[in-house]
């Protein structure tokens, strides 16, 4: 192991976990309010980033960056509302499988639509956060008498900050606003919510609109770090396990799940060729970032089937 790199990889991983947490949060939000697991979230991410690019790029409208982001947010809200109204409301009361397939199909549809609209070429996303001049932090301890310096990419740090700010804003929104309250109430029990006069269809709409916003922000954060192409839609695959780690319905769980996955993905980069199991194994472990979330997920499912924060249900017959 490269113990000297441990803090570096741990912190980088954790920072990478920020956007993952944000993405997971978007999925949890939908699930909480309507028990729909949104497999199309990745495509919403992609569309958010693509529209931002198109509004801002010279090939597109060439608007100032922040205007472009705002317009993209508006598009994403609209998209969220449309999805809810057109594809998921007709599915009310359908079995789980149908709803899973609906969002999968929706994802495919949106993917095709994105290609049709924007083509397949990769895009250079506008730089929002500086990508040079990394922060160098000297840690207050040493390893083998070498000072440990952690190099943090600026865009990584700021992406993390933005993601966390979004998480906090959302949490405050849920905790302290009336809309937040009605969303939390709806999430608990649709029938009871209706009985106290909450318009649950409106709540679903709002949930999807917010999910659209979160997706667009997530898309922009990821695209700004490393360019934009169709593969952005599969970034969410790392966030799915984060959602389940946290327990599907838990907002703090989703955030923690995202951070755990980021951290773990960072740490698997550590083993070097002198790792006790030999270079092939070390190489395989370093290559395992894509499956780490799923391995963690399997472990958690075996130990705690309802996730770390999930609600256990009593089955009745």
């Amino acid at each position: 192991m490269n113990w000297q790199l441990l803090p570096q990889f741990a912190i980088t991983g954790l920072l990478n976990g920020g956007p993952i947490a944000l993405i997971a949060l978007g999925i949890v939000l939908i699930f909480k309010s309507s028990e729909i697991f949104n497999f199309a979230h990745g495509q919403m991410l992609l569309i958010g980033a693509m529209t931002t690019w198109w509004f801002s790029a010279d090939e597109g409208l060439g608007l100032p960056l922040w205007t472009a982001v705002l317009l993209a947010l508006a598009v994403s809200i609209l998209l969220g509302l449309l999805i809810e109204r057109l594809t998921l409301r007709p599915m009310t009361g359908q079995p789980l499988l149908s709803i899973i397939l609906m969002t999968l199909a929706l994802g495919q549809f949106l993917q095709g639509l994105t290609i049709l609209t924007f083509g397949t070429t990769q895009r250079n996303f506008p730089v929002i956060f500086s990508i040079t001049d990394p922060y160098r932090i000297t840690l207050p301890f040493t390893y083998n008498d070498n000072p440990i310096i952690v190099i943090l990419k600026q865009n990584l740090v700021w992406s993390f900050v933005v993601a966390m700010v979004c998480v906090i804003v959302l949490a405050l929104f849920f905790q302290y606003t009336r809309t937040g309250l009605s969303m939390r109430a709806t999430a608990e029990d649709h029938e009871t919510a209706q009985s106290v006069g909450i318009r649950i269809n409106r709540v679903f709409g709002i949930s999807w609109a917010i999910a659209g916003i979160i997706a667009a922000i997530g898309g922009v954060l990821i695209a700004t770090a490393s360019g934009l192409d169709l593969s952005l839609s599969i970034v969410v695959l790392a966030a799915f396990p984060a959602v389940l780690l946290g327990g599907l319905e838990s907002i703090p769980g989703a955030v923690l799940g995202g951070l755990i996955i980021g951290l773990a993905q960072g740490l698997v980069g550590l083993p070097n060729n002198n790792f006790f199991m030999g270079p092939e194994v070390a190489q395989a472990i370093r290559n395992s970032t894509e499956i780490v979330p799923y391995v963690i997920l399997l472990i958690v499912l075996v130990i705690r089937p309802d996730g770390l924060f999930g609600q256990k249900r009593i089955e009745r017959i």
Partner: protein
């Protein structure tokens, strides 16, 4: 105020649950709906409050009117906004919200007037003096009686004109049941809000009600003022099982008769 006119309710397009129910609630009245399990009491409440729709049920005949407005095609949340609030059977609270948040959800149908909401909240706390100490407790961890109080309190928060109470006594100790019913009566007397009360526990129900209906198999079989019904000897017997008054063959006899028929035929 509320009149249910000969309604028929069908679930999933096939299962007929209510076979022509008529009842009326006048302003300021407490009306009680009695009956055994599966008689259709809850279905009646849900067809008034609109919650039937989400269970694939529908009013197929007859109509429900509230102050002259037809209810049977309205969504549940709109009916609540008209001033009819249902307290669901089984104390359905938002388990992970605190007591006070649960109460506040009741006020979501009103415009965001903090002072007004605060005042209503204080009012609810005066009806249920036990609740202020519990305001920051997670609702799911409250005891059954406390949960029932929160559920009713939440309904009060919406300042209803008609409250539908579904089996508030369910699973509660007799003493608690008494105190909850006393509060209900007090609330009714002080505010003049009408209450439609569904109960299996005829005794307590008849103590607070002005008028009562008895249901069986999706039909109203008996109605009258609470005093009248309380005097009715059949009621007591009804709750110990004699379904219809008068001469009834034992089920064992029925059996032999039918079986003979089958063997012969």
């Amino acid at each position: 105020m509320l009149s249910v006119n000969n309604i028929e309710v069908v679930y999933s397009d096939v299962i007929l649950v209510l076979r022509g129910i008529s009842l009326a609630v006048e302003k300021g009245q407490i009306v009680s709906l009695l009956g055994a399990n599966g008689a259709g009491k809850t279905t009646t409440l849900k067809s008034i409050s609109g919650l039937l729709l989400r269970e694939d049920g529908a009013v197929t005949r007859g109509g429900i009117e509230f102050d002259g407005q037809r209810l049977d095609k309205l969504a549940a949340e709109e009916i609540t906004r008209l001033g009819i609030v249902q307290v669901l059977e089984g104390r359905r609270l938002f388990q992970h919200l605190t007591t006070e948040e649960n109460l506040l959800t009741g006020a979501l149908i009103h415009p965001n007037n903090r002072a007004e909401i605060r005042r209503t909240l204080e009012q609810v706390y005066t009806y249920f003096p036990a609740l202020p100490q519990l305001r920051n407790r997670t609702a799911g961890y409250l005891s059954g009686g406390e949960q029932q109080m929160v559920a009713i309190g939440r309904a009060l928060m919406s300042r209803p004109r008609l409250m539908l109470l579904d089996e508030p006594s369910l699973g509660l100790a007799p003493l608690l049941v008494q105190s909850i019913f006393e509060m209900v009566r007090q609330y009714n007397e002080e505010t003049g809000v009408s209450i439609l009360l569904v109960e299996q526990n005829a005794n307590v129900a008849l103590q607070v009600a002005d008028y009562a209906y008895v249901m069986e198999n999706g039909r109203i079989v008996l109605d009258g003022s609470a005093e009248q019904l309380a005097q009715n000897a059949d009621i007591k017997e009804f709750y110990l099982g004699l379904t219809s008054v008068g001469e009834r063959k034992s089920y064992r006899d029925v059996k032999h008769y039918k079986r003979r028929k089958r063997w012969l035929g």
